[in-house]
């Protein structure tokens, strides 16, 4: 865990869960797995608070526990999982594009609550949707459950590991200090058969005909909800790997669309969709797909003939990008998508783009040149890139000082004399990717800090505007006159209003920027993971 990662995790925990959780979480990240007593002792917080903090972290899948030898339970924090908090908006947005508002709210609820039972999710989402709908309409539970089932079928949500049923054994073993959770592969996406009947309830603050009745009934309802829910114990969580797979597919499709045309990208999208369930997320190649299968699975709107499809597939396979490869000739031609190569190309394009923006297009030319040719001497770099010697030297040294390019020495003589050694420039892509990843983490930490600073600066103003809004709302509820409302609104002067506007704009900009940097993080992380798995 680099310093930058730890700082960022600490900021995220503090922002989402508060100071105490932040302290415990950061301590766990720094020190690795620790038993409960050690955490209490080292952080100096009371046992009670530590327990509560750990509960929160475990609920959100940020900390896991394990029984070690001698029966000690140790808790371990997962730094990478904490960093995923940054990506929550992207997950929610993806669910919205695929499954519209219902899907969006389901995923949002699951992400915000860590783990939930299906019935709880359905109920909450229905309530929220009902509030946004027009008067008189309500959201039916069945619609929400069907969306939930679809999410489970496409593996976007999965069951959490459960406590297995204790074996019926004669010898009464003392229960282990911590339960070991396990889940069967088959059961992971199995939706329990629930009979959820009902409609979303609107949270009403004003009197209504129907509201008059439920009010006395309300205490009874809460008592009713104490009865066992049918799917107690079956908790669901969002499957982040599946979302990552989806992002990866999206970036591959857009890369193909940029390089070739729309139809080719649609074909690639079809191929990826067909391999969604069959290929594991870290495989370097998808399963081979025959051209006949692809033809059958093309989206309905696309009526291109079989020959045209074959031509496109041949073009894709021959393209220098090498995203698609031909692996055989049966079934009209078997094609695979080379996932590792695709991720590597995307990561290299990211590196090149960063070099271009930071140092200029001539430096980018030199960088691409050394990337392609692997090892080059200084003179060769000048000749190939057609850049005058002085400038080329300057740029190479600048890239060298930023550690994006490294030198490889090849001595001619055993004494390594500098005048008799070859010095070759080379790019070590993995280490360059890791270095830029660290830079991304620090950038996001900076952006978050700036955002908090901006909010703190204008705290007084924000509080004032909140007070004014509360007064306005209460006066509107009690039916005040237009003139009075006007008076209250004028409590905030025009320049203050402008300042508030500016603040809102800045905070939004910083937020958007965090999400953009997170996209870079995703590409670089996928590349490093994929390379490490292959190595």
């Amino acid at each position: 865990m680099t310093q930058a990662e730890i700082k960022l995790c600490s900021l995220l925990l503090q922002e989402h869960f508060g100071e105490i959780v932040d302290k415990i979480g950061t301590h766990l990240i720094r020190t690795g797995s620790q038993p409960l007593r050690a955490i209490v002792h080292d952080t100096g917080t009371s046992l009670d608070q530590v327990k509560k903090a750990l509960c929160v972290l475990i609920q959100h899948n940020l900390v896991t526990y394990q029984i070690h030898k001698r029966g000690v339970v140790e808790y371990e924090a997962h730094c990478s999982r904490i960093l995923r908090i940054l990506r929550y908006p992207r997950y929610i947005y993806t669910a919205k594009t695929l499954y519209s508002d219902t899907g969006e709210l389901i995923v949002e609820e699951l992400l915000l609550n860590g783990k939930m039972t299906m019935s709880a999710v359905v109920k909450k989402v229905a309530d929220r949707l009902t509030e946004t709908m027009e008067d008189g309409k309500t959201m039916d539970y069945s619609e929400v459950s069907s969306t939930f089932c679809r999410l489970a079928d496409t593996h976007f949500v999965q069951r959490c590991p459960l406590v297995p049923d204790p074996p019926e054994s004669a010898d009464a073993q003392p229960p282990p200090p911590a339960p070991t959770l396990s889940i069967n592969e088959k059961d992971m996406y199995l939706v329990p058969k629930l009979n959820l009947v009902g409609k979303g309830k609107r949270r009403r603050s004003s009197d209504d005909d129907a509201a008059g009745e439920p009010r006395p009934k309300r205490p009874k309802q809460t008592a009713e909800s104490k009865e066992p829910i049918p799917d107690d114990g079956i908790y669901w969580q969002a499957d982040l790997d599946r979302f990552h797979q989806h992002f990866r597919d999206q970036s591959i499709v857009s890369a193909v669309a940029n390089r070739m045309d729309q139809t080719s990208s649609e074909i690639v999208r079809t191929m990826l969709r067909m391999s969604e369930i069959t290929t594991s997320s870290c495989a370097p190649f998808t399963q081979p797909l025959s051209s006949n299968e692809i033809f059958r699975s093309l989206p309905v709107g696309y009526n291109i003939s079989k020959q045209v499809l074959d031509q496109y597939l041949t073009l894709l396979a021959d393209d220098p990008l090498e995203f698609v490869g031909k692996s055989g000739d049966s079934g009209g031609g078997m094609y695979v998508i080379n996932l590792h190569k695709a991720l590597a190309s995307l990561a290299m394009a990211t590196l090149e783009s960063i070099v271009q923006e930071r140092f200029g297009s001539r430096c980018a030319r030199i960088f691409r040149l050394v990337l392609r040719k692997k090892h080059l001497e200084q003179k060769q770099v000048e000749d190939f890139a057609m850049i005058p010697a002085k400038e080329a030297k300057d740029m190479l040294y600048k890239l060298l000082s930023e550690n994006l390019i490294s030198l490889q020495e090849i001595p001619k003589t055993p004494d390594h004399a500098p005048s008799r050694t070859f010095y070759l420039y080379t790019v070590n892509s993995l280490s360059a990717a890791r270095m830029l990843l660290r830079r991304c983490y620090k950038s996001i930490a900076n952006l978050i800090e700036r955002r908090q600073f901006e909010t703190k600066e204008n705290k007084r103003l924000l509080e004032k505007s909140q007070r004014v809004e509360a007064i306005l709302a209460s006066m509107q509820a009690t039916g005040a006159e237009e003139a009075q409302l006007q008076e209250i609104e004028e409590m905030i002067t025009a320049p203050e209003r402008q300042q508030l506007e500016g603040l809102k704009r800045n905070v939004n900009k910083l937020d958007a920027s965090e999400i953009q940097v997170d996209e870079t993080i995703f590409v670089l992380e996928s590349y490093t993971e994929s390379t490490m798995k292959r190595a």
Binding site: S251, R259, V308, T350, E352, R368, M386, A389, N446, I515
Partner: protein, 316 residues
């Protein structure tokens, strides 16, 4: 009676006659003649007289002495040169010969010293002498600007010394290269555009968006922006820089020997492409481009809270 055997000189034993005969023989065999051949021609001349005649011719600079596997060869020297070397001594002739052998690549003064085994001062004097007589000239090498190579006065320096089409007077012509770069790219881009708009089946579309290096070369020649004659290899180096810019991709196809522009049975095709990703997220934040990134931390002189780059960026 004591007969004094007078060695009757045969009529052509006259030294000048011998020399002339040898010269005639050399003209007959321009590749050179060996001692054996002279002996066969004039069997009545003694070896001593032969050797004297040959030495005289050599010192006069009319014959060249060469060594071959079979022995020594004598070759007639071109008549123009014989005029120049009058008044030069042997050392100068030696140095001149070394420089002449270097052809149009030229030779460095230190190499002349190794080959002739003459001391440095002598070499310098001789070189100055020859230069003033306008027999040799010094050309600055483009690779190492301090190094001077010497070659014969009337020879054109080789490309490796002057740098070829991209260098004019030892200066790398960057604007020229830039202009060529942009022109080639525009040509390929427009070709790709027309191919895309033709909307035929994808194979034809793609094949028509390619341009071979020969086509690009013809286009640039016709544009006439270059005062220097450019060869196809020059255009290929320019196209390679476009590949390293990420704007163009290349494929090699096998082509029949006779088709225009094919080299050794294959052709290089180039095509304009667009980048596969948009500029990445990190560079959209000020931190991605910040020059003092490593010095920035909370509570320091440079921190996110008082970052001037962020303030400017937020005001856009």
């Amino acid at each position: 009676m004591a007969e004094v055997k007078v060695k009757a000189q045969p009529p052509d034993a006259d030294p000048v006659e011998i020399e002339n005969r040898i010269i005639e023989l050399c003209h007959q065999f321009p590749h050179g003649i060996t001692d054996q051949v002279i002996q066969n021609e004039m069997p009545h001349i003694e070896a001593q007289q032969r050797a004297m005649a040959i030495n005289r011719l050599l010192s006069m600079g009319q014959l060249d002495l060469l060594r071959s596997n079979t022995g020594l060869l004598y070759r007639i020297k071109e008549s123009q040169n014989t005029g120049k070397m009058k008044g030069s001594d042997n050392q100068e002739k030696l140095v001149y010969q070394i420089i002449e052998d270097a052809g149009n690549k030229g030779i460095w003064s230190r190499d002349i010293r190794y080959k002739s085994n003459l001391p440095l001062t002598e070499i310098n004097k001789i070189l100055k002498n020859l230069e003033s007589k306008k027999l040799i000239k010094a050309v600055k090498s483009v690779a190492a600007s301090k190094k001077k190579v010497y070659m014969l006065y009337n020879l054109q320096p080789d490309r490796s010394v002057t740098g070829g089409a991209w260098y004019s007077d030892q200066d790398f012509e960057s604007e020229f290269v830039e202009v060529l770069n942009q022109q080639c790219f525009k040509f390929l881009q427009s070709k790709a555009e027309t191919a895309r708009e033709s909307k035929q089946n994808p194979m034809i579309q793609r094949n028509s968006s390619f341009a071979s290096s020969h086509e690009v070369w013809k286009y640039i020649c016709e544009l006439g922006i270059s005062k220097v004659e450019l060869s196809m290899e020059d255009i290929e180096t320019i196209l390679n820089t476009l590949i390293y810019d990420g704007k163009v991709e290349m494929t090699i196809i096998a082509a029949k020997e006779g088709t225009v522009g094919s080299v050794d049975g294959h052709m290089k095709l180039y095509r304009a492409v667009s980048p596969i990703i948009q500029p990445t997220g990190l560079v959209r934040a000020p931190c991605g481009l910040c020059p003092v990134f490593d010095d920035c931390h909370e509570g320091g002189e440079i921190s996110p809270s008082n970052c001037i780059y962020m303030t400017e960026w937020l005001e856009f």
